[in-house]
């Protein structure tokens, strides 16, 4: 892994940690996979490219709702 990639990963991890600290715990149940939620949130952040914390918070809300929709759909099929 190059230095640039490492720096990018560290910055993403820091961003996620800050979002969780300031906006509340991520809505992941113990039976669900935290890494999947992180991946969803990172994908949305990369797609929407927020400029500041307010944008990141909106994207976090979007990820929460997407996650919940996925959960209900899973329950519906099981």
């Amino acid at each position: 892994m190059t230095d640039v990639q490492e720096q990018a990963e560290n910055s993403t991890a820091a961003k996620l940690a800050r979002l969780e600290r300031l906006c509340g715990r991520f809505p992941v149940l113990s039976s669900e996979n935290r890494q999947d939620y992180d991946e969803l949130l990172i994908s949305l952040l990369e797609h929407h490219t927020p400029r500041n914390f307010l944008g990141e918070r909106l994207i976090k809300y979007l990820a929460d709702e997407e996650w919940e929709i996925g959960r209900y759909k899973r329950h519906n099929c099981s």
Partner: protein, 163 residues
Amino acid sequence: MGDRPVQAPQLLLMERRFRARLAFQAYREKATQQDKAALDKKLAEQSPGQLILPEEALDGVIADIDAMLRRPAEELDHARALEVGMVYFEHLDRLLNAAIVRRNAVLSDIERYDYLFDPRLPVSAWAEQIEDGRDRHANESEIAGAKLDEAAPAIARSQEGQS
């Protein structure tokens, strides 16, 4: 004002449930009688002096349960399962719809507060930017070449004057 009359579909549903209950009771009664008859027959076949252990009496039970579990589902079974789970699915559907509405609200917020996000350029705009960059680079190198051509004779002349 009297009590609200029970509507026809509700009556039908109650009637259906009542008939289903009766049918299930009759089925259970018949099954019990059959089991009893089978056990009596088995006991009659054995010699009178032989002792029967409880495990021996329950010999066929495991096979019977396995057969019940392996029985393929019928349309009626699925209908009954749907009837039982309908309230749960209704609640689940309501929750799902509410989550979708909230998600759409967040998406419209993102659209409304677009100044919080970096604008994304379409692919054609990227291509144009690259083309512009190339043209600008070519122009700059041409201008630099021309300046060099202009400056070169002047430098040569000054060198001649010095010598």
